[in-house]
Amino acid sequence: MTTIRDGQTAQDTQAGPAEPPPAEGRVYSVNGQDWDQVVEAIADAPEERLVVNMGPQHPSTHGVLRLVLTLDGETVTEARVGIGYLHTGIEKNMEFRTWTQGVTFVTRMDYLSPIFNETAYCMAVEKLLGIEDRVPARAQAIRVMMMELNRISSHLVAIATFGMELGATTPMIYGFREREMVLDLFEYITGLRMNMAYVRPGGVSVDLPAGAVDKIGEFLKIMPGRIKEMRKLLDANPVYVRRTRDVAYLDLTGCMALGITGPMLRAAGLPWDLRKSQPYCGYETYDFEVPTETSCDVYGRYLVRVAEMEESLKIIGQCLDRLSGAELKGRPVMIEDRKIGWPAQLALGPDGLGNSPDHIAHIMSTSMEALIHHFKLVTEGFRVPAGQVYVPVESPRGEIGAHVVSDGGTRPYRVHFRDPSFTNLQAVPATCEGGMIADVISAVASIDPVMGGVDR
C-alpha cells in the first residue's frame, strides 16, 4: 500500500499513528508490489524531480547499501551513497583481543574474500615481528593457492550477482554453482566454507589434508570449461553488451583521483597489480599475466574479472606442482619459532575440528612445561615490538591494506583496514550522474562492493 505524506500539511492517506512531517516535498512510501498506485499517485505531481531512496534493502544493492538518487525523468542528476548499516566495530574489538585472535575478526570484514583480509593482517603482524623471511615456504605457497581460489570464488559472485541484477538468472545459477566448488574445497581444507581464520601470524592453521591436492586438481580440470561456458553466455550476448558497454565510464584520471584500484583500474588500461608490481608471498616466482582493458566501462571490468579467473587457475596449477613436489612436501606450515608459532595443529575429531589428539595427550599427560607453554601462548599470546606498518595485498576488489600499530603489548594498539570496496564506492557519483537510473545498477555492480568490507 502506497502512503503519501506532504511536507507541511502531513495529510496521511491512511489513518495511521502520527509521524513527524518530512522536511520538504511530498513523500511516497513504497512497500513493493504497489507500482500501479505509485504511478497513479505521481501522475499529477507538479514537478518532475524525484528523489528515490534505493536501499538499504534493495536486492541489487549488494547488501545494505543506500543510494539517494535525484531523478529528472529517468536521468540521474545526483547520486549520493549512504553507508554504515553494517558497521560492526571490528577494528575496535581487535584492540581487546590477542594478535592471533585478530584473525577471526578480520576474516569477517570482506566476507567474500576472507583469505585476503587474513593474509594482509598476518603479513602486517609478521612485518612488525620481523619474521617475514622465516615464514615457511610451504605456508606461503598454500596462502597463494588459497588466495587465488578465493579470487575465483569472489569474481564468480561478482559476475553471478551482476547477471541477476540485469535480469539474467542463468549466470547467477551458474556462478553460484561454480563458487560452491571452491567453497567445498575451502571446507575440505580449513573446515569452514567462509570466515575460515585459516591464515595465522607465522603460517597457516593447518596443513592440507590428505586428498586435497587431488580434489583441487579435479577442480582445475572442470573450471576452465565452466569459465568458457560463462564467456559463451555473456561475452557476446547482445542484451548484456548493450547494458554494459560504455556504461559507468571512469578513465584513469578519475581512478587515480578517487583512489580506485583493482579491476576498475585495470579496465582503465593501467596494468597495476600488486602481485606483479610489489610482489609478496613469492608471487614473483609464479608465471601469470595481468589482464587489462582500455574501455573504462562496465563491460571492460567484466572482461578483466573473467580473464583474472583464468590467470588464477594458472597460478593454482603452479602451486599444486610445488606443494606436491619434493621441495615442499611434508614441510612445516607454521613458523618454527616456539614463542610465536601456534603449538598445535588442527585435526578432525568425532566432534569437529579441534586441537590434534596427539597434542592434547602431550600437554595433558606427559609434559607440564608443554601445558604451561600452550596455556601462555593461547591466553596471553605473544608480544609484538612497538611500531607501525602498512601492508597491502591485491584482493579481488583492489588494494586491501592493513595499517597495524603496536605499542609493544600482546594486543594490537590499532588496526585499520583500507578496504577497496570502501574507496571504490566513492566512484558512484562520478559514474552514475548524468546516466539512466537503470545504469546505476550496472555501475554499482561493476564496482563489486561488499558491505562487510565497506563498513567493517
Binding site: Q388, G401, R414, R418, T423
Partner: protein, 225 residues
C-alpha cells in the same frame, strides 16, 4: 660515590607498573614492582637507505626553505618511511608529493586515525598512506593534533579520495578536517555521541554466563599489557 652526585639521566615517562592490570588486590604474581617505560620517540637520521633519501632530497628541493618547518621528524622503520609533518604545512606538502616529477605519489590509500592519549599535545594522529605508481614506491605522512584542538586541514583538494576517509577518521576519532566539503559522520548514525575509536571510549559489552562461570566483557578481562 653516592647516587646523589650522579648526573640526572633523562628517562622516558612510565607507561605502567606491574602486570595483569591488577588494581584492586595485592599483586601475587611477582611482577608487582615492574616498571615499564614508554619507548623513546623514534627518529631516524640520514642516510635513510632503501631509496628513501631520494624522496627526502626531492621533497627538500621542491619545498625549498619551508622544508625545515614542514617536516618535524623522519622515521624509517621496518622498511617504511614516515614523515611527521606540521599540520599547517600539510596541504602544501601533499601537493608537492603528488605533483613533483621526482616524487609523483599519484595514488593515496586514504587516511587512518590513531589515538595516543599518553602523548600530550599530539594525542590524535592522521596517517596518510601514499603510493607512487610512476616510481613504484610507498611512503607515509603522519600529522598530529592535540585533543584540545582537534583540527587538521583537509587534503580533499589534493587527493579527492580522502573525502570518505576523512569523514571516517572524523567519525571515529573526532579529528575535524578544516575545509572538507561535507564533514559528517559516515559509519555511525548522525546523532551518535562520542567518537568510538578513541582510547577513552569504552568497548562496551556485558558479562556472559557459561556453565555457572561468568566471563566478563572483553574490556574488563585480564590484560597482559
Amino acid at each position: 660515590m653516592s647516587s646523589d652526585n650522579l648526573p640526572g639521566v633523562p628517562e622516558e615517562p612510565v607507561a605502567r607498573h606491574g602486570m595483569f592490570g591488577v588494581t584492586d588486590s595485592g599483586d601475587t604474581s611477582g611482577y608487582g614492582r615492574l616498571v615499564v617505560r614508554r619507548p623513546p620517540k623514534a627518529s631516524s637520521a640520514r642516510p635513510y637507505g632503501e631509496g628513501f633519501d631520494e624522496i627526502a632530497d626531492a621533497l627538500e628541493a621542491a619545498a625549498g626553505d619551508a622544508f625545515g618547518a614542514m617536516v618535524e621528524r623522519v622515521v624509517v622503520d621496518r622498511g617504511e618511511l614516515t614523515l611527521h609533518v606540521a599540520r599547517e604545512h600539510l596541504v602544501e606538502l601533499m601537493a608537492h608529493l603528488r605533483d613533483d616529477p621526482a616524487l609523483r605519489f599519484e595514488l593515496s590509500l586514504g587516511v587512518s586515525g590513531v589515538h595516543y592519549p599518553a602523548e600530550t599535545g599530539e594525542e590524535l594522529r592522521a596517517v596518510y598512506h601514499l603510493c607512487s605508481i610512476t616510481h613504484n614506491r610507498r611512503m607515509r605522512v603522519e600529522v598530529s593534533c592535540p585533543d584540545a584542538d582537534p583540527h587538521i586541514p583537509s587534503t580533499v583538494s589534493v587527493y579527492p579520495t580522502h573525502d570518505w576517509h576523512e569523514r571516517e577518521t572524523y567519525d571515529f576519532f573526532g579529528i575535524v578536517f578544516d575545509g572538507h566539503p561535507a564533514l559528517t559522520r559516515i559509519e555511525m548514525p548522525d546523532d551518535w555521541e562520542g567518537h568510538p575509536q578513541r582510547k577513552d571510549y569504552p568497548l562496551g559489552g556485558i558479562p556472559v554466563e557459561y556453565r555457572g562461570a561468568t566471563i566478563p566483557a572483553p574490556d574488563n578481562r585480564r590484560s597482559y599489557a
